[in-house]
Each structure stands twice: as C-alpha cells, then as structure tokens.
C-alpha cells in the first residue's frame, strides 16, 4: 500500500473516466465478488480499487442455489451463486451513506423483466451510487439474464430503452460473452440509450464432474466460467465492441495482473473489472495491478491511461 501511494507521485497518471465518472485508477471491483456489504466495499477501496460494484440486487430476495456454488479448476472458476441477494429493500439499507466507501460505487441490478428493473431503480433513489449497471447476462439463474433470453440484441434494446427512463445516473449494460456477434448487442444497448457497456459476464455455462462422486460438483450442475479461461474471450469481445459503439467499455474477464489490465485497455476498455483474481491474488490485487501498470507505463514511456485505450486498434 505504502508503495502504491508513493508511486502516485511519479509522472504516470492512472486516472480514467467511465461514462462521466472519474476514477483514480482503472481497476473496478466486478459485481458479485464481495459486493454484499458496505464494509467489504470499503475494504476493497482501501486495497486500491478505483471503483467498486455491488453484488447484483433484484426486486425480491433470492436465496440463490445450494452449495457448492463455486468450484475451481486448473484454468479458472465456475460459479452458480444464482444471484443470492436480500432484495432491493434490504439492499437500500445496506448501501446508505456510500460516500464512506471513498471511491465511486456502481449499483448492479437484475430483473425478470422491465417491470422489475424499474422498481429496483426506484429503490435506488436517493442513494449515492455513481452509476447503474444493468446485468442482462447471467448464465445460471432461471428467470434472469441468458436463461430469460435477455442477451439477444432485440431483448437488450427493449429492456434498455425502458430502463433508461428510470434513472438519471450513467447507465452501463453488462453483456454475455456467449453471443458471438456481441458487437451487435452492444450497438443495440447504445441505441437504446446506454452510457457504457460492461463486457463481460461469465462464460458458458460450464460443468465439472467429481469422478469419485460421479456427479456434477456444482449443486446447480452448471456454472459460469470466470478467471484465466475467460480472458481471451473477454478481450475479443471488448475489441469487437470497441469497433461497434462509441460509448465507453468496462472490460471484465480474467484480469489478474497489470499486463492483463493494459491489454484490456488496448482492446478498447476505459476501465477494467476484477473478480476472480480476488481469489487468486487476494483483495490486494487492486493495488498490485495498479502498481504493475505504473511500472510498465514508466518503462514504456507512457504517461497516461488514456493513451492506452484502444491502442491495439491502430491501423
């Protein structure tokens, strides 16, 4: 930590902007990892994140799937949390006085349809969120995201154009990597009024089987793939989206080092989400990634994050 603040006095500028929200650095806690309490968000901010996202909130409480809800493998993680959350009413209590967190806090919301989304947005009124992320892309919760067909260009357009009217906050739309023509989905979101794209949610779903038990390990049998396995897919998605839309992108998927973060920026992201790496490198991953980015930028004569955004698209 000491190191990190020391290096902020050097000539490298890590700050960036995401749909009008200024971030001290481009690392953002991804939704669903640790975002269950204000206390945890504070901890992640202290560990160096430029912004944090809460665990997705739905209208009514959701119990989530039975355990195991996560399982690791040699190339990443599967999860089928199933959007366990206490619902928007409880959520609004939990996330009052968000200024205390110290960095911008993004609200993540989910719904079975536009009606749900609008009511959840209502529940956020008066809270200090910096932006809202609408997740249309979970691969493992019946009634939501992919399992409700929300990830097609058509559904995306329909949902976003209504939801857009429900908030004055910057609106991010979170997409699934499972649709090859992700650029089209992003464009649908942009046309419907989104201010930014979060790309991507987990991949798949995938499955792992315990061969002694002769059973899928996750109780829901399948779960979304995150971590290293997802990284090249997420990069390609961000690269494609950058070519398809003008709004900024929050790039998420498999990032665990400063090199990975820079790669994602070069693909076109304005900021980078980090989730699974909280497991592999601890909460300190945010500070470490920033420090690694600074080191690389210094050696490579790069003074600002903005120079990196979309750099891999040079003709």
């Amino acid at each position: 930590m000491a190191d990190r603040f020391a290096s902020l006095t050097t000539r490298v500028d890590l700050s960036t902007e995401l749909c009008g929200v200024r971030l001290q650095n481009p690392t953002v806690l991804a939704s669903g990892i640790l975002g269950t309490s204000k206390g945890l968000l504070k901890g992640v901010a202290l560990a160096g994140a430029g912004a944090v996202t809460i665990k997705s909130l739905s209208l009514e409480p959701l119990p989530g799937h039975n355990n195991p809800i996560v399982v690791g493998f040699e190339a990443g993680m599967l999860n089928a949390v199933g959007y366990a959350n206490p619902g928007i009413k409880e959520g609004a209590k939990e996330f009052s006085n968000l200024k205390e967190v110290g960095v911008p806090v993004i609200a993540s919301i989910i719904g079975r349809g536009v009606g749900d989304f609008m009511k959840v947005l209502e529940g956020l009124w008066g809270l200090d969120f910096a932006a809202v992320e609408v997740s249309l892309s979970c691969p493992h919760t019946p009634g939501y995201g992919m399992l409700a067909g929300q990830n097609t260009p058509e559904a995306t357009k329909e949902i976003v154009s209504v939801v857009r009217k429900g908030t004055e906050l910057p609106l991010l739309v979170k997409l699934s990597p499972n649709i090859p023509e992700i650029g089209r989905v992003a464009r649908a979101a942009e046309e419907a009024g989104a201010d930014g794209i979060t790309a991507v949610n987990t991949l798949g779903p995938g499955m792992l089987i315990n061969i002694e038990a002769r059973q899928p390990i996750l109780d829901f049998k399948v779960g979304g793939v995150s971590g290293p396995a997802l990284r090249p897919i997420a990069l390609r998605c961000v690269y494609d989206i950058y070519k398809s839309v003008k709004i900024p992108i929050l790039g998420v998927g498999g990032i665990s080092t400063g090199r990975h973060a820079i790669e994602m920026l070069m693909a076109g992201a304005s900021a980078v989400g980090i989730g699974t790496a909280v497991y592999s490198r601890g909460i300190e991953v945010f500070g470490k990634v920033c420090q690694e980015m600074e080191e690389w930028m210094e050696i490579n004569g790069c003074t600002s994050v903005k120079e990196l955004i979309g750099a891999a698209h040079a003709p």
């Binding site: 309490s37 206390g39 195991p68 993680m77």
Partner: protein, 269 residues
C-alpha cells in the same frame, strides 16, 4: 486454482452426545487425493453430500493420518449426515480460514455446545490450559472422556455446576491467572467472554459462525461488516471483535439479508 472437493470415506462414526456425532476420515488412504491435511486448530472444512448441499464444519479431530468433524443435528444437511454410515463417502474441501494463535502461556478455553468442536484440537495442542464446557443438559456435553480434567456446567444442573461457563470466569481467573482465553459457542456467551477479557486485559480469541458459501472469500456471503468470516475468520482476536459492530448483534442469512442474531439462528434464508 484448485478448489474442488475430494471424496473421502467415513472410517468411523463416534456418538458423542445426544445431538452430536463425529465422523473420522483417513488422510493417507490410497484412493484419496489429499494425502495429508495441512491444518491448524481453528480452521474449518466444507463437507459435501452430492446432490444435497455443502456446509462448514470445524475440524475436531486431527492426527498424522486422520481427521474428523463433530456434527450437531440441526436441519436437513446434518440430519442426512447423521444417517451416514462407515464406508459411505462425502466430499471435503479445505481447510479454510484463520487459526488460533498458540503462542501463549497459561490459557483458559471456554466452549459452549457444539462450539467445543472447534476448540478440541486446540485443547490437545495447548501446553497449559484450563477448559470449561457449558451445555444445556448433561446428555449434550461433548468429549467427556477425551478431556478428563474439563470443568463442566449445565443449564439444568444435570452435570457439573448449574449455570453457564461465563459464570465461572472470575473464579477461574483468580485461581489460574491465565494469559489468554479461547472461546467458541453461542455468540451471546462469546460476547460475555470478550467483555470479561477486556475488563481484565487478557488476550482473547473467538471462533465465530456465519453463513458460509464459497469459503474462499469471493461470494461475500459470510461478511461481518468489512470482514469475510471464511478468510479473515472464523477465529478473530479481541481487538478485532471490539470494533466489529455485528458481533453479538447481526448475522446474514443465505440470501445476504442482515438480521438480528437472535432471528438468524435456525432460519435457512
């Protein structure tokens, strides 16, 4: 990133009390993947019954080639576990979480109910300790043969002193002048222990219980204010507990809802 359950065979079932059974596993069995378990007293494992659920339990027995858990009957999962017999298989992942710090002089160990499970291996490893166990009634007491010198109290007076273990603390301290207190049990009891420790300026560590899912610090389910019970806990020291608003007050259900601790117990979501 290995975080898969390993199937292990139940080698022995011990009837510990009216409510609790212990299940013993061998760590050097040919078929098991985990040739030995790197464990420190206080840590817990996740126990998986395929197609049912996976739940946290403290390790209550530990040796070179075996370990065990002691399970109190609570609901669906523990019920099914209690029906399992020697030779049946369950999945194990872990151990996870923080451990008790053993570098103390004289110690006092205060256990309540099945909280004794997380203290049992600690007790074996401590060189100089006095142990007091509380339970509702005699038939719910644990490990009476394992720890012969243990002081007992029951709420109904059916064994040992009538009352709760914290009633004895002052007397014990005058007598033993211990340097540290370890505790695990009902949270109300642990709150009292921590108040006592603060008053007498004794270091103390407690093992808390919160609803655990991932056990590896990603899902946020087990949070207690800004701490993850599965990573920064379950063992916390007195200084941390003092600042922990939720301690003795709030816990989160399986859907993340923060409720008064009294209404948390015994409810699933």
């Amino acid at each position: 990133m290995h975080l898969e359950p390993v199937m292990m065979k139940i080698e022995e079932v011990i009837l510990e009390s009216n409510l609790a059974r212990s299940f013993i596993f061998k760590t050097c069995s040919e078929r098991s993947e985990s040739k030995s378990l790197e464990y420190q007293p206080g840590q817990f494992i996740m126990l998986w019954i395929p197609r049912l659920d996976e739940k946290p339990f403290s390790i209550s027995y530990h040796g070179k080639d075996f370990f065990g858990v002691t399970v109190a009957l609570k609901g669906r999962f523990t019920q099914r576990l209690h029906e399992m017999k020697v030779g049946e298989w369950v999945g194990i992942r872990g151990p996870f979480g923080t451990a008790f710090n053993l570098n103390v002089g004289k110690a006092c160990v205060v256990g309540g109910g099945v909280g004794m499970a997380s203290l049992a291996v600690l007790i074996e490893r401590l060189e100089d300790s006095v142990v007091v166990q509380g339970a509702r009634t005699a038939s719910e007491l644990l490990y009476r043969n394992r720890f012969k010198d243990m002081l007992l109290c029951t709420e109904d007076g059916s064994a040992g002193t009538k009352g709760v273990p914290t009633d004895l603390l002052e007397d014990l301290y005058r007598h033993y002048r211990f340097d540290a207190i370890y505790t695990c049990g009902p949270e109300a009891m642990m709150v009292k222990v921590s108040e006592f420790a603060r008053e007498y300026n004794i270091c103390m560590q407690a093992s808390l219980e919160r609803y655990i899912k991932c056990a590896v610090g990603v899902c946020g389910q087990c949070c207690c204010n800004g701490l993850r019970l599965c990573v920064e806990g379950p063992v916390l020291d007195g200084g941390t507990l003092e600042k922990l608003e939720d301690f003795g007050r709030y816990a989160r259900r399986g859907n993340g809802r923060r409720v008064p601790i009294g209404t948390y117990l015994g409810k699933k979501t």
